[in-house]
Symmetry: C2
Subunit: 723 residues, 2 copies
Amino acid sequence: MKKLSGRVTLPSEENFLNETKELLSRWGADALRDSDGTKLDKEIKQLNAKIYTTYFVARSHNEFAEQHPEEIQQLYLMSQYHMATGTKLEVTFMKGYFDEQIEPDYVHDPKKWWEVIDRTTGEVVNPDSWEVNQAENQLVIHQAQPWHEYTVSFLAYMKWDPTQMYNHMTNDWGDKPHEIPFDARQPYSNQFIKDYLVKWLKENPDTDVVRFTTFFYHFTLIFNHLGKEKFVDWFGYGASVSVAALQAFEKEKGYSLRPEDIVDQGYYNTTFRVPSTAYLDYIDFIQQFVAQEVKELVEMVHDSGKEAMMFLGDNWIGTEPYGNYFKDTDMDAVVGSVGDGTTLRIISDIPHVAYTEGRLLPYFFPDTFYEGNDPVIEANEIWLSARRAMMRKPLDRIGYGGYLSLAYKFPAFVDYVEHITEEFREIYDKIKGVKPYTGIKVAILNAWGQLRSWQAHTVAHGKWYKQTYSYYGILEALSGSNAEVTFLSFDDVIHHGIPDDIDVIINAGDAGTAFSGGEIWKESVLTEKLREWIYHGGGFIGIGEPSAYHHEGRYFQLANVLGVDKELGFSLSTNKYFTDTADSHFITDDTKVFHFGEGIKNIYALEQQTTILGQNDDGIYLASSPFGSGRSVYMAGLPYSHENTRLFMRALFFAAHKERELKKWYASNIHCEVHAYLEINMYAVVNNSMETQTTNVYVGTGIEHVVTLGPSEIIWEVCKDGR
Amino acid sequence: MKKLSGRVTLPSEENFLNETKELLSRWGADALRDSDGTKLDKEIKQLNAKIYTTYFVARSHNEFAEQHPEEIQQLYLMSQYHMATGTKLEVTFMKGYFDEQIEPDYVHDPKKWWEVIDRTTGEVVNPDSWEVNQAENQLVIHQAQPWHEYTVSFLAYMKWDPTQMYNHMTNDWGDKPHEIPFDARQPYSNQFIKDYLVKWLKENPDTDVVRFTTFFYHFTLIFNHLGKEKFVDWFGYGASVSVAALQAFEKEKGYSLRPEDIVDQGYYNTTFRVPSTAYLDYIDFIQQFVAQEVKELVEMVHDSGKEAMMFLGDNWIGTEPYGNYFKDTDMDAVVGSVGDGTTLRIISDIPHVAYTEGRLLPYFFPDTFYEGNDPVIEANEIWLSARRAMMRKPLDRIGYGGYLSLAYKFPAFVDYVEHITEEFREIYDKIKGVKPYTGIKVAILNAWGQLRSWQAHTVAHGKWYKQTYSYYGILEALSGSNAEVTFLSFDDVIHHGIPDDIDVIINAGDAGTAFSGGEIWKESVLTEKLREWIYHGGGFIGIGEPSAYHHEGRYFQLANVLGVDKELGFSLSTNKYFTDTADSHFITDDTKVFHFGEGIKNIYALEQQTTILGQNDDGIYLASSPFGSGRSVYMAGLPYSHENTRLFMRALFFAAHKERELKKWYASNIHCEVHAYLEINMYAVVNNSMETQTTNVYVGTGIEHVVTLGPSEIIWEVCKDGR
């Protein structure tokens, strides 16, 4: 078979020419890139590869930024809670912030732009009754209510780019200057950004792809007074605020924002918060501005004959690729970090770009590449997860990040990447543009819908949280499965109903969060539409605390659909009769082992007709219920594992009344999956594990045969008669 | 030492004269009683013992009740939830109820007295748009909103006394007539109750004590269509409802109640619900009526030269002994079931009576007294728990229930009860009326306060619930400890502040319950008063989800006092820095083993100054924090155990800044306790375990000496110089 090449990007560095050549050849790479802190030699730039050059739009020009301190980026920050013990209260609002990053804005009148809130009552304190002592960074409230807690929401300048700050402090860069982020919305900065790009494009003829890292506003990343991370929200629009932005917002939307609309009780509208209308308006406003400005930069790049690529991360705020304005940017490509199937799908599903690229983990950094460690194990695990998703919707390119010279010291790793790149190209070559067979179509229902496709339950990209892994597993399971996945918001359902082709709707999350939905469940139009749709045959899967909002004797507002509810203590007086576990069931036919993660306590069955499939001392963790012609499944949680993925797929098919469709393009062994591509008359049997596996393989007719696969192996087969 | 006798009541039965005599003598009993289903022989009544006779006020007179079906007791009941799939909805409101117990009230106009609620919106459905089909026990809604859920709150007659129903069905009493409860508020019943008592008093000259079991209204106990318990609330005022009561309520309180005020979303105002003003008014109204009526009956008893004793249970609704009107009843005595220290204190702390009596468990019933079982073990366990409480506030009498003939078949048990009765009298003889030394005064703060003294976290009396044991342990620990205990309601604090002599306030419970407090925590006057008091040196212990109500960026409204809060998902973006566990601490000095029961997840420290004393993967379960001059302690839960009791006592002394007071009248061994009675110059060292224990005993000066105690032993010693 002809060896394929291309579709792979490598990082390179100075004084690494020969090894770079060798790896270019072995890994079949066709692009090279620099990084934050590494530069490419001239000779390297002359190799037969496209050159990506990292470009910072709104930082790394301190000579400019220092001339325009009034154009430094801004944030609204909330002070710590300060309790009054008398009528005078001094709030040291900078306490806990890092003065190398944050500086209060005294240019704009605090009386107008700041807000003091009595957090015991929620009332705003009249600005006449407080004053700011600038010398001490202190705000004094003169008529405080004793024993109430107060916070100050203050406007501040963010004078150090968070990513550079992180790298600087992590790598002990000493007196290397702190890069000052400037604001594209401000006149001088806006002009500078454009002028500089024109100049830079001319000065960098070797660059083929301008790798924007990224544009204007960094996701919210704030450090504390000890220089340690204090607040991180990968979706945070915090650093996009400015007086100019607030004024423009008022002009455009017809009302002004309060500081509290941004500060949000100190939660800063994280993606776990049910978004307020004001916040949705604000992010729409920022997205629109960013898209317009990005479009201009992209045009310049195009005019210079180069491509524009955006890194999904760092300063990506306002460019959300599933938002309404991303298509306007004319971006050529998006690149992002890929550590599993979900993060791969974030990238590979992005619409409106010519190509997507995933920067595969692990990074070539000393935390993985140290003596005695075998980076192949981690690389293999990540590749198996990512490959599942690749089989459904492939990236157009893959790449790596970090120090190539470090990876080079691990020959087994170099061999393994050679295998990965080869396998990637083989997959891509076969299935790019081919719609894989899907047995089922699911919609994930939460407050964010399509805007945050594949991004639910994420705090910081790729980071594990105890409170999120039990839900993140849903996305990970789906990312590489035989299901078409869409994302619906509550507003979509309320205003546009449920698309006809959906088989199963999933609502998953902790009570009160944007993912479960919170108070929206009191909206009768939402529950009406869902009940009607399910009653007439739809499937509904609730995970964790679905539809949770305590109202009129129900905690789960869809309790009658789910057949279960959660005991809050109010109905302890009511006997719980229905406690028998079903002996066997379609959903649990392949595996009895179900790890539901963090779990939810005190779930009980409401009705005789609820089928309990799993329970322990803490309550039910798996159940199913009929509802009219429809069906529901309740699960306490779904961390990612092969067992859970299988269980979940069976639950989806059951909820959709598609039990008879399950064993088409299906592997009996839970560590294996079958992906079929009927347009090209092929299917792949994939071993998702690092051990040899034997499985029955069911083709499209449901006829089975036995296949044995080596560790991580893919076997491609030709469909007979297209089935 | 002279053997004491008396203060013990035995159940007896027919044909059991000689054995009764023997047990009277061996157990030193001075009173005999019949039971529901047993009668005393004439000869037995002539023994040298007071005779208690069980008396039912509002049942067991079917000849009367059947003549006045309109005076049968009533309930408001809620139907199951019925979802409309079109505009016409048929609600089979009796579904799930037991037609031998419940009959809908068609005498009073359903249009006036019933309520149909759209539970999707919470709106009441206009009575014009529904009608009742009496023949089918069905209510038809004509203009239902499709996909909304509806319930019907209907007035019903309760035609079978719940206790007799329970006994009848449990013991297969076959065609024995169902006792019909009649309503003391109704004219004929009221007259009958009084006339019959007059007659009965005359006809029962041998009776010394009329043991009312109890008065008018049974706690709510509803069975389902299969004749199994459906709803049980030991505090439930459900069966006190009637049209007459509702009309009298309106006259007295100046407003009318809605059915929903009673039905309460199907929760029926269980004690876990934060009580509404309407419900508090209603129970006040019922208590007042019951007290007036009871007073009349008690007067008749007194006029006949007998004593009136009330059984705390069954038909006790309206007689709550810690309520405002109990003192008006002139009751001589209260008897109640005692299974541990908490249930003992419910009885022994009752004010305004001449004496109290505890009916010790186990009952002499076949569930304990069967061949091969040793009832001594259970009796010993119960006695050890009860005895702890007895050492603090003794009952005046103890007794037993069930079949004496059954107990008689277990000679070791007979011996053991001889020991218990002897030990009880010894304790009583020494300490009755003597104030025990207390090192600390605590107040338990919840929505109920004094009214439900020692009754927090109870669903059905003496019954274990998974959702309650982690809080019930607080009461059990305190019931026999060196602490004075009072009960405060939120309203007490809001309107009257915190009594001067309190050392530590405890708030404990699951979020939203009456015990934690729910929305009351938004009342700034509550948090102001608590913060002020703690700041100036008070102690505060929060257990479970204390002060929980999500508001203005805090979940625990006293988070700044507690130094901890609960992560709800909204602040995952905020780093949690303070994660070090303290190596050692005053609170954990005696035991490192802490079982916090059900636990609360995701508790984290807010401040550097929070001292974490225990945490696991789920979060912090034990912590302490300074607050001004005061201190707080957080615990995730406190099931009863000797270890937890010690830990809790240390936490109380620590919170109160009384560390130096701890080792006075104190045992180093956690299975032992020391109770001092300075007025009589004595102290007791008690072994609360069934094993031999050696302990250091600290007397009032803090000087220690070593004592070894046999299993369950008490050693009485004389104080030297009153210390």
